[in-house]
Each structure stands twice: as C-alpha cells, then as structure tokens.
C-alpha cells in the first residue's frame, strides 16, 4: 500500500533574513568589509551575505570577551548569571518557530527535526545550565571552582543552534565569556541568537559571534588572548587543534568524528529495531557524528532485518525540508555531497553491494538518496571512514564476542547501539563497547542532563550533565 501525501509546507514568513550581516562583538553588530554568501542547500538560493572575520575582527571579539570577563561576568554572582541564562532559554522558546524555520532554510534539515529536536533541545540546554550557575561548588569539581576566562568555540554545520547551545550555555554558567564561530555554511541561527542575547540584556561582550571559514577558526585557536578552545568537528581538524594548543596553557575539549556500530542481536524486537536503524543513520541526513553508520546484524536475523529495513526505506520521504512530512532533507553543501559521492564510489569499487529506494530527488539543491551497502567487510573504507551522509554499511556477525570485536575495531569511540530484549546481554554489551554513549533499544537521543562525548579519537571531554561542566572550570588536580 502506498500513501500519498499532499505537500504541507511550513511558512517562511516568520523569519526576516537581512541581506547582509556583520559580526556580533561587544553586544553590537559590527560591519565588516569582506563577505561570503550563505545558501539554502535545498534550493541553492543565496539567503544572505555573511561577514568573513579576519585578524582584526577576531582580536576585537577577544578583547570584548576579555573586558566583559574581567569587568562584569567573573564578578557577577552565580545567581545573577543564571538569571541571564534563564532569560535566554525563555526567549529561545518564545522564538522557537522562527529559529526552526531559519535553521531549516540555512541547513537543509527537515523542519520536523529543527522544530521538534534542535530548537527545543537548544533551549533546554540553556535552561539546564542556568540552574548550575549558582551551584558549581556542588558539582564535585572542588569546593571553589573557578572559570577559565575567555573560551573560543568553533562549532559545526550539522546542528548549528544546538551545538551553539552545547558550547555557550555551560561556558556562561561556569562564568566564562565566549567568542563563538558558527560554521561557514550555517551562520544564520547563531546571528539570530545574537539578537536573543540583546533581548535578554546580556552584558556586552559576554557572547561574541564572529563568522567566517576555517581561517577564522584558526585565528581563534591560535589567539593568545583565549584561555580555552572548544571544538566540534572532524577528527582531522581536532588533531590539528590539539597540536596547535600543545605549547600553550589553553584547555581544550574536542567532540570529533565517529563510526558507530549499531548491533542487532537475534533476540531484538525487529520492528522497533528497524525504526532505530533508520533513525540511527538517516536522522539529519546522516550528518551526525554519532550516527549508527555501521549496522552489525547477527547472521540468523540478517535477512529478515534487511528485508524489513528495505521496506521501511521505501517509505522514507526525501525532499523539501520545509515540508512537514519530509523525513530526509538536503545535504548541507556541495562539498559534503561530493565527499559522500566519493566514498560511495569507493564502496562500489571495493565490491560492496549498494541499494537505494527509488526517490525523486529535486533538480536544484544538494541531494543524496538513503543508501545501504551490504556485503561490507571491516577492511572496506565505507566501514572505517566517516561518510557523514545517509549511507549505511551493513556487516554481519555470529557470536556476541564477534560483534563486540567488530564494533570496537575502529579508532573512533563516540557512540554505539545495542538491540536486544535480554537485559543481561544488553548490559554486558554496553560494558564491552568502547564508546562514550551507548543507546540500548534506542538511538540518537540527546538531553542536557546526559553527558555526551567520545573515547579514543572521537575527542576529549564531555558535553552535558555534571561531567560537561568540567570543560569550563579550572581542573581540581591536574594542570
């Protein structure tokens, strides 16, 4: 049976996009001489011209952040700091639909996801951390924990506002001021967030936002006036940052790549599991560092799971991100699409078998149909490298030990999934897996109270929960 869906477009009337933006420094928007376009990846329409920060802009932002830190923010009581964060959370909730529409226009993700996941979670992060601001001495990080100073924060394009919230909320709660750089291809919600800071009357310079590309990021990483670097992005860039800050006193947290195993044992509830597999890899077009991109199926249920998975994939709606029925939206950029296409070609060349449902992809914009590869081995590049797109590599196993061995056979260690109805087996597997987040009979769940972050080459430190606060406070015993 096929369901037909009439289009259910979300209106974009709620957002006003300016033709040109400056940087947000010292509480004001500051004009900039150089600009680059940001586009809607679903239509290739140019949405606005974004300022490209150079050395002078980053210097000005760091200076404003330092001034705000020494004169205002570090002197303010936690109780008062917290109230600003509560205000920000409330304003984000009030303007949630506006944020959701803007996020979808700039990023290409389905409005259903920006509306139901990204924006509510971002507001929740501010609300959660607001409550920590006057309780830091109870966080188990020493009796008198101190902020680090000015934090330089560099965030990715896959969850633009949510990653901003993950970075800014704990930094401010702990008493730091920030210089944040949103991703080159998704700066708009961060710039709208700057307006929220103004509406909340956040003291000038506590949050500074500079836009730009990788060169702007490098200026932040190497800036001598910054005390802490927080980065979310690729493992490759993470290592460059780790080397760059090694000779300095900067503290660093890194949230990097992943190649998560999603393990299906033969006693798993198959229908729920299929939903979980789809959510694990096709959520946000697979632009998720913790995506369940390696499906490990126990051999005796592999055929059944694959059959049901393909049936389910036939029903995924790929298309206009602004349509409320859309499941999978646009690939965020031309460059990312090229990377996906390249790795998929490698999968073909290495002998894995590719399958996609029939999809009518729009003629404009950047699109990639949900794809699975079967017959994948551990040596294949599509089983080792992060594709960061809607592409699932399927491997099989016979024994639970073999599943764990395969799951852990990666330099990454961000997340993993377990599907089983047997509690003792689930707990056993969750103990064996070398990953920072384990989803058992669920996948891709996030919450401000729940620490997130990776083992091994997936990064340093955690974000969220009590553990995440440590990233923005002076260490208890180590230098």
């Amino acid at each position: 049976m096929t369901f037909e869906y009439a289009p259910a477009p979300e209106s974009r009337a709620i957002v006003t996009i300016k033709p040109k933006y400056g940087h947000f420094i010292g509480g004001k928007f500051v004009a900039c001489s150089k600009h680059f376009p940001t586009i809607n990846p679903a239509t290739e329409e140019v949405l606005s011209q974004i300022a490209l920060a150079g050395k002078a802009d980053v210097d000005a932002a760091v200076k404003a952040a330092r001034k705000a830190y020494t004169t205002t923010w570090s002197k303010m009581s936690g109780k008062e700091r917290g109230k600003y964060l509560y205000r920000i959370a409330r304003i984000m909730q009030e303007r949630a639909r506006e944020f959701a529409v803007l996020e979808t226009l700039d990023n290409g993700k389905p409005i259903r996801e920006s509306r139901d996941t990204d924006i509510p979670l971002a507001a929740a992060h501010f609300f959660y951390h607001a409550g920590w601001a006057d309780k830091l001495e109870y966080a188990g990080l020493g009796t008198s924990p101190k902020p680090l100073g000015v934090a330089g924060q560099i965030i990715p394009w896959n969850f633009p506002l949510l990653m901003l919230a993950w970075k800014v909320a704990p930094a401010l709660a702990a008493g730091n001021t920030v210089v944040l750089k949103p991703a080159e291809s998704t700066p708009l919600t961060a710039l709208l967030f700057a307006e929220v800071c103004q509406q909340a009357e956040l003291p000038a310079g506590v949050v500074n936002i500079v836009t730009g590309d990788g060169s702007t990021g490098a200026l932040i990483v190497n800036h001598p006036g910054i005390d802490k670097i927080a980065f979310t992005g690729s493992t490759e860039v993470g290592k460059i940052i780790a080397r760059a800050v090694a000779p300095t006193n900067k503290s660093v947290t890194l949230e990097l790549g992943g190649k998560a195993a999603n393990i299906v044992f033969d006693d798993a509830p198959i229908d729920e599991t299929v939903e979980g597999i789809v959510n694990g890899i096709f959520f946000n077009q697979g632009h998720v560092c913790c995506a369940g991109s390696r499906l490990l199926l126990q051999e005796n249920v592999a055929e059944e799971v694959l059959h049901k998975l393909k049936n389910r994939m036939e029903k995924i709606r790929v298309g206009d991100p602004m349509d409320k029925n859309t499941d999978v939206g646009a690939i965020n950029s031309k460059e990312q699409l090229a990377k996906i296409i390249e790795l998929v070609a490698v999968g073909d060349a290495e002998g894995a078998e590719r399958w996609s449902p029939a999809c009518n992809l729009p003629s404009k914009g950047f699109w990639f149909a949900p794809t699975i590869f079967t017959g994948v081995t551990q040596a294949h590049r599509i089983a080792r490298e992060e594709i960061f797109g809607p592409v699932l590599s399927v491997l099989t196993f016979r024994t639970p030990q073999e599943a764990i061995e395969k799951a852990n056979n990666t330099p990454f260690g961000l997340s993993a999934g377990i599907w089983s109805e047997k509690g003792s087996r689930t707990l056993w597997a969750s103990q064996q897996l070398r990953a920072g987040v384990i989803w058992a009979n669920t996948f891709n769940k996030f919450d401000p109270t729940s620490p997130f972050g990776g083992y091994k080459e997936s990064g340093w430190g955690r974000e969220g929960g009590r553990h995440g606060l440590a990233a923005y406070l002076k260490g208890v015993s180590h230098e």
Binding site: A242, R243, T426, G436, T442, K445, W460, S477
Partner: protein, 280 residues
C-alpha cells in the same frame, strides 16, 4: 666480622610479570650521592617499551574485569608486601640518593600509606565520578566511569619510590594497566618495588616498569598508537609541548599532576553514558 662477599642483585626490567634484561643489551651506570658505583640497571629501548605495551594491553581486559573489591585488596596487598620489606627500601634510598635515614623512612611510610589510600578508592570512585541523569523522556540514563586502557607514565626523578607510586597507583586503581619509566638517577627502588608487585597477586602485565632515559623513551610513549593516555608528571615542563604534539596523533589524554587526589584517578577514566527506554 665475616669476610663473606655479599651477593649483589642484577637490576632488570619488569615486563609482563617477568624480569627480562633490555632487549637492546644496554645498561647504564648508577652512582650514589658520593659518586660510588651502585649498579648497572637496564637502559630500556623503544622495543622494550613496545613489549611492555603489548603486555599491558593484554592484561587490560582481565584487570578491568576484576571486581573493584578485588582490585582494592590487591592494592592493599602491595602495601602489605612493601611494609614487610621497608628496611630494604630505606637502605636502598639512603644509599642511592644520600638522604637521611629519617627522610628515607618517611618516604617509604608515605608510599605504603598512599597505596592503602588508593586501595580504598577502587570501589568508591565510580560513585563519585558517575551519575544518573534525569533525561526528559521515558529513559533510564546513567553515566559510569571506566578505565581507558593502557596508560604510560613518566615517574618523577625524586622522590624515586613515592613518586613512582604516586604515578602508578591512581592509574591502576580504576582498571587501567600501566607502563612506567622510573627515575633515571635513582631507579633501584622502582625495580625492587617490582619484586613487591611480583609477590602481591597482581596479574602479570598490569604494571610494567622500565628504567632508562626520559628523552629517549618519552617521545616513543607519546607517538605509540596503542597507548591511550600519558601521565607526564615526571617530565620537565619544558618538554611537555613536544610530547603533547606527538601524542595528538591518536589524541592521547595527556596530564600532569602535583598532588595525590581522586582527580588523578578520574583523569584516566572515560565516562560512558548508557540509555535504555522505560516501558511495559
């Protein structure tokens, strides 16, 4: 007085519960504070380090799986064995470093007490460093800290015994295994401590001790791809940057410390968060 010639000890490495010589065949001369020859300990090589890492990796699964209670008892057992041989350690420290007997005695006492202190942490650290997380949805969500795997460490030059224990005890408390480079100038108490370990029911490979030169071994530790983390407390501060740059290749967790603190245990643990739905 008898004219008996005493039987001197050959100081070797401690790898995988055994006492091999350096595969390189190299040794170096250790003299006491008065410049008199004391011993020819091994000058460990890169290959010795790699052998030790293989042993430490192989031992990790078992040591990590041992109950926290059992790990605590083994750490306590190490303290018992050290207490039983305190005289020998005091004599060795006095002989090699030239400190007073009172000072050496205090160092050994502190070493024993430090081991007892960490023994008590094995089954408590998870309560401190873990959490249950009240997520906004029908999920049971908890965070547990667990060991990272293989941690390499550079022990400080002085105090040679207490410094070594300060470095290795917090690492193994949580279930990590360790490869440690002992004090270069005063390596003897570290190697005698290996004899204590060998009689303490500590599984082979959990603690591996090398003697040699920091400048030679530390960079290999930093670049080794099967070492998860590094304690560089024993390296001079001016060397830290170079080691951190090399360690970035596999994003090693690299720390240095100034005091004994539960934070030292937590620094070499990873927080793992597990989600499970709640439902009928």
């Amino acid at each position: 007085m008898s004219n008996r010639i005493d039987v001197k000890k050959t100081y070797k490495l401690y790898i995988n519960g055994a006492f091999p010589r350096s595969e390189s065949g190299r040794t170096y001369e250790v003299k006491n504070a008065k410049g008199v020859f004391v011993a020819n300990p091994c000058l460990a090589s890169r290959k010795d380090l790699r052998d030790a890492v293989v042993a430490a990796r192989a031992a990790h699964a078992g040591w990590n799986k041992v109950t926290a209670y059992n790990r605590g008892q083994i750490l306590y057992r190490i303290a018992e064995m050290l207490e039983g041989r305190r005289g020998q350690f005091v004599e060795e420290i006095v002989n090699v470093t030239g400190v007073s007997k009172v000072k050496a005695d205090k160092e050994v006492t502190d070493s024993i007490d430090r081991l007892v202190w960490y023994a008590g942490w094995t089954d408590k650290i998870a309560s401190l460093a873990g959490s249950t997380n009240p997520v906004a949805g029908p999920f049971y969500n908890f965070t547990i800290p667990e060991s990272m795997g293989v941690v390499a460490a550079i022990a400080p030059e002085t105090p040679s015994l207490l410094g070594l224990i300060d470095v290795i005890a917090p690492i193994i408390t949580s279930g990590n295994t360790v490869v440690v480079l002992a004090s270069t100038k005063a390596p003897l108490s570290a190697m005698t401590f290996a004899e204590v370990l060998a009689t303490s029911d500590l599984p082979a490979g959990v603690i591996n001790i090398l003697t040699g030169k920091k400048d030679e071994i530390a960079p290999w530790m930093a670049s080794h791809m099967d070492i998860d983390a590094l304690d560089i407390s024993g390296l001079p501060a001016k060397k830290h940057a170079e080691i951190k740059v090399a360690g970035a290749e596999n994003l090693k967790r690299i720390h240095s410390f100034k005091s004994a603190d539960p934070g030292r245990i937590i620094a070499f643990m990873e927080a793992k968060t597990v989600w499970h739905p709640i439902g009928l």
